[in-house]
């Protein structure tokens, strides 16, 4: 009897292991093909845009033989498939070439600017989710009420007002007039020599250094652009939360929860939102990715030394390596976030878990 039970258990464990293996394998295949697609697109863009990377380096007054020599040095005489192979090989080793503008390897530049963007987007997403989810829940629970209308209008404004205009307005009001926040940039110049970045995420670095004066200053700098990005993602998150919540609140298990005598608070936050959280995770992850790539305008307005500003500057100076490198990084983050939200999805929804 017990040996039979053991056998069934062993068989079940076996089946589980092979199912997990299969899932991991399909994950790897999906990520690899998506990444290859991303590289192909960026490579293609790099070759078809009317910017000559050779001229960008040697300048437009270089003699013909110099141009020709540089072209061969850079491998542009090779057939496209070989170029693509070398490109992929370089990228996989973290080599995006050298930036014409800064003369640094593109990877080193990105390592410097990307944490700034990521920090901004992270704080922005936290703000967006912290306010967007409760507002969406409120709108769904009080559907059709004044509160619902107000949340709708807040969302509509966040969604339709251009973020650069809102940014300038915010700077004018909160920095120039009221003086509540710090101005453009990440940190005040007085900290330039005393503050040493460790991770590149300044808020975290200030905590690690126990430099509370710097922390306060960094916070005063980040709060305005992050609130702005947060408002933008709040608009989206609150709308999606509302519609997911309405869907959940109309389910039969909510009637059952009421029949059990649970309080409305428990029903809304413990049951309905817990179920709505499953699709919401994907929405928040994608909105986070959207902030990472879409902060170009915000970074320009707030002189935020992040990836958006870096790409914009590179683009204006025909620095193709830097632009493509930045694009690949953003693409990679997109893929990673998708993967992450997929994993989180499994964690939140037992129906998608492998048993």
């Amino acid at each position: 009897m017990s040996s039979m039970e053991n056998q069934t258990q062993a068989r079940r464990a076996n089946r589980r292991a092979s199912a997990i293996l299969k899932a991991v394998a399909s994950f790897v295949v999906i990520v690899a093909t998506t990444y290859l697609g991303l590289l192909a697109v960026t490579f293609f863009i790099g070759r078809v845009v009317p910017i000559d990377p050779v001229l960008a380096i040697v300048g437009d007054r270089a003699p013909a033989h110099v141009v020709e020599r540089t072209r061969i040095e850079m491998g542009f005489n090779l057939p496209y498939y070989q170029q693509f192979y070398l490109y992929v090989k370089g990228v996989l080793q973290g080599d995006f070439g050298t930036s014409v503008l800064t003369t640094n390897p593109v990877m080193a530049d990105i390592r410097r600017v990307f944490p700034a963007t990521m920090e901004l987007a992270t704080v922005g997403t936290i703000i967006g989710a912290a306010f967007g989810i409760p507002l969406g829940v409120l709108a769904a629970v009080k559907r059709g009420s004044l509160a619902d209308q107000i949340v709708r209008i807040i969302g509509l404004i966040g969604y339709s007002v251009p973020i650069f205009w809102l940014g300038l307005l915010a700077l004018l009001v909160f920095y120039a007039r009221l003086g509540w926040t710090a101005g453009p940039g990440r940190i005040d110049v007085v900290f330039e020599y005393t503050f040493t970045p460790i991770t590149g995420f300044y808020l975290l670095d200030a905590v690690l250094n126990r430099d509370w004066a710097a922390f306060k200053d960094i916070f005063a700098h980040i709060i305005l652009p992050a609130s702005l990005l947060g408002y933008f993602s709040l608009a989206y998150i609150s709308r999606m939360t509302r519609s997911f919540m309405l869907n959940e609140l109309s389910q039969e298990y909510i009637v059952a929860a009421r029949a059990k005598g649970l309080s409305e608070t428990r029903i809304i936050w413990g049951h309905a939102l817990r179920n709505a959280a499953v699709p919401l995770v994907t929405v928040i992850a994608l909105s986070y990715a959207g902030l990472l790539e879409g902060s170009v305008l915000t970074e320009t307005v707030f002189a935020w030394p992040g990836l958006g500003l870096y790409i914009t500057n590179s683009l204006q100076n025909a620095d193709m390596n830097a632009v493509l490198g930045g694009t690949i990084i953003i693409g990679s983050v997109f893929i990673a976030l998708n993967l992450f939200s997929d994993l989180l999805y499994r964690l939140l929804d037992p129906r998608t878990r492998i048993r």
């Binding site: 039969e252 309080s263 129906r351």
Partner: protein, 277 residues
């Protein structure tokens, strides 16, 4: 036999864009520790009657009654909080399909414990033990395993047992079962009914059994109310069903096929417009 539930002239109406729709139009009955069946077709108001007793009618609906009383408590005058305290602890309801009426992201055990701990102050380990006992009481063979399963991992019959366990754990005196077996396989239906029957008798509960299945209701209940268009058209003892006087009830009875009988043409329910009045 003391009377548990008094319903007198219960009316449930919904305001809609085209006017007020009356789902329940003057239903009256009294219930003791007995099994009362409410039968009717879709839209006859049988479910809305049950939900009005539970206090689970949608907000926009209007409920009127001369009397709606549960063991001396006037349900119409009771506050929201008072009614909520009754739900689950003294009046409970079993819904139709366990696939939809159990929270998909919460384990079965936690959902049962949740009912208990809402109404009684019990510690975690005691609550768990009582939930396991309750699962055993609904004849689940391996309560410890089922306790940690999610609703999608169990069959319909098992899910409905879990539903019954979840609703009965706080020991209600009145149970409203709204089509509790309609979503289940015929073979499982009888198991569930047997479990329900046993628990109702053992615990001395009153039962309102809502169904569209006259045959099922007549074998399972003591008394049957037949509803049509929001009104009671006939009330009779289950054993005297064959002596039904109302033509609608007779029509329902005639729809049931008998073995060895060939009927051409098949009888069709006739609905007289004057019954709507």
């Amino acid at each position: 036999m003391s009377t548990l539930l008094h319903v007198e002239d219960l009316r449930v109406s919904f305001p809609t864009r085209t006017g007020v729709v009356e789902a329940v139009r003057g239903v009256s009955f009294a219930l003791g520790q007995e099994r009362l069946g409410i039968v009717g077709e879709s839209g006859s108001g049988k479910s809305q009657t049950g939900r009005a007793i539970m206090g689970l009618t949608p907000q926009q609906a209007e409920i009127k009654a001369k009397r709606l009383e549960f063991s001396g408590i006037d349900l119409l005058k009771a506050s929201q909080a008072e009614r909520r305290a009754l739900r689950g602890s003294r009046i409970a309801m079993i819904l139709q399909d366990p696939k939809y009426s159990l929270d998909p992201v919460m384990t079965i055990g936690r959902q049962i414990v949740e009912t208990l701990r809402t109404h009684e102050k019990v510690g975690k380990s005691e609550a768990r033990q009582r939930a396991l006992d309750m699962l055993a009481a609904v004849q689940i063979r391996d309560p410890k395993r089922v306790y940690d399963l999610y609703p999608h991992e169990v069959s319909g019959g098992m899910g409905q047992r879990a539903m019954i366990a979840m609703m009965l754990i706080a020991g209600p005196e009145l149970l409203i079962a709204d089509e509790p077996t309609s979503a289940l396989d015929v073979t499982v239906q009888l198991d569930i009914l047997r479990i329900l029957d046993r628990l109702v008798i053992d615990r001395g509960m009153g039962l309102v059994f809502i169904s569209h299945d006259l045959r099922l209701v007549s074998t399972f209940c003591d008394r049957v109310i037949v509803m049509y268009a929001g009104k009671i058209v006939e009330e009779l003892k289950a054993s005297e069903l064959s002596q039904a006087k109302h033509p609608y009830t007779q029509g329902l009875l005639n729809c049931m096929p008998k073995i060895g009988e060939s009927r051409h043409p098949l009888p069709v329910l006739d609905r007289q417009p004057e019954w709507l009045l």
